[in-house]
Symmetry: C2
Subunit: 245 residues, 2 copies
DNA sequence: CGAATAGTGTCTTTAAGACACTATTGA
DNA sequence: TCAATAGTGTCTTAAAGACACTATTCG
């Protein structure tokens, strides 16, 4: 078993004794969704090195020796975007991917995380190939991605779709404050459907704790000005907003 | 960084070069539920060695060098129970637990799996401390378990409860064939509620593909003989069987 | 004004829950 | 016979969906 040298930050762990368990590299990978230009986008990087040089990949990196998995995911997210803090942002574990040959260099187990961001979270500027970009989701789903990242992305999308049904996470996609139409737009783009605006409006207002009125209204735009809301205290929806079945 | 020697099966990986990433041990842990004696039970082992000597723990073990995570989980499950094959059994990834100090001996990341078994899956006989036992769930939830296994168990229970709502997995708890009352019993024990037998009966029969009649009936027992069913082809329930909210 | 979007009222349909009632067995 | 469990019918209630209608803005 040979493992190519690969230096991560400045951490090099030297280990010279026989080990009693197979050593694995553990990474976190991030599926970060946002809405911009009226379409769902995912945060990607372009690989500058072999393997999979030139392909799109999910942002991520090695978990540090004394770092919690959740902390590693939050750290990578902060490094890749200029979102101020991880507080007003949803980050959850998606699943773990550890097929033996998924990384040809070494045996790697990747813990994938799913995040929803409002559009203010623009990627960190940078000209190197590893800087993150927002990629339109629909196009990205039909490209070849590095490693098993396309599978992870598909799983992340399905999780996001399911979560909108019974949680208030759609509000995480909206900058604050937002209108009911903004919120509806999230559902329509993530589910790739259309929703009756009138029934949706009534439904959201009837869901205790989903949104709270700010008292303000939108100033400009076609049509009647809309009320502005902020996210309410609820996290789960009873009853859920149902997808077509 | 020192790691105590610890031999797993007969696999010893010798690694003598500087490594460019922090080495982790990767394990799988299993939350296996079954119903016996009219109560939900979970498969546990009793730890025979330090750390946490004498405490209950979830069955599990190291992932092998060239083994997929799912395969490792299935292998451990087959090793601990005498269920014939993994075919008629539900096994899904639950989550990954990797807090730095969760195993005091070394940095370990554990990928937890959730399984539902019909009662025919009795644990492997054996007198050593590591042999698996069915433990009543309610009692187990109030014991101190090894590592973070109590947290994993709680997460597994919540996942199981949620999954019964919108999937046909309750049938995985029933030996084949089963009655509608058997199926209702699964819901009642996992959710710790009572369900109206008459409404449940109608609801299950109205769910396309949930169960299929075998044409047979139960022979003995109090009351009118019940029809026997086998699991149908459906995996998802539309509409779901709702929990109280 | 008309087009566009916000928001309300109300009817229909679907599904959940309560519960009376019949069916078929063993003790 | 009664107690127990299986299974059906039907009414009530809650929520989803269709859609007419009013409200308020911009061009």
């Amino acid at each position: 078993m040979t493992i190519k040298g690969f230096i991560v930050k400045s951490t090099i762990v030297t280990y010279t004794r026989p080990m009693a368990f197979p050593p694995f590299a553990v990474t976190v990978d991030l599926v970060v969704f946002t809405i911009r230009d009226d379409a769902l986008h995912v945060l990607t990087i372009r690989r500058g090195e072999s393997p999979f040089k030139g392909r799109k990949a999910l942002p991520g990196g090695f978990v540090k020796v004394n770092e919690d998995l959740d902390t590693a995911a939050a750290r990578e997210l902060l490094e890749e975007t200029n979102i101020g803090s991880v507080d007003r942002l949803h980050l959850e574990q998606l699943g773990t991917y550890g097929t033996p040959k998924r990384d040809p260099r070494m045996r790697t187990v990747s813990v994938a995380y799913l995040a929803f961001a409002a559009d203010l979270a623009t990627p960190v500027a940078g000209t190197d190939a590893a800087s993150a970009q927002w990629s339109p989701l629909s196009a990205t789903l039909s490209t070849k991605m590095a490693f098993d990242h396309l599978t992870i992305l598909q799983d992340g999308l399905e999780r996001a779709r399911a979560k909108l049904e019974y949680t208030t996470l759609a509000a995480s996609f909206c900058s604050n404050p937002f209108t009911i139409a903004d919120l509806r737009h999230v559902y329509e783009l993530v589910w790739d459907t259309t929703i009756d605006p009138r029934n949706f409006h009534r439904k959201v207002l009837a869901s205790e704790g989903f949104v709270e009125p700010t008292g303000e209204h939108t100033s400009a735009g076609r049509g009647r000005p809309a009320q502005l809301f902020r996210p309410g205290p609820a996290t789960q929806l009873h009853p859920p907003v149902r997808r077509q079945h």
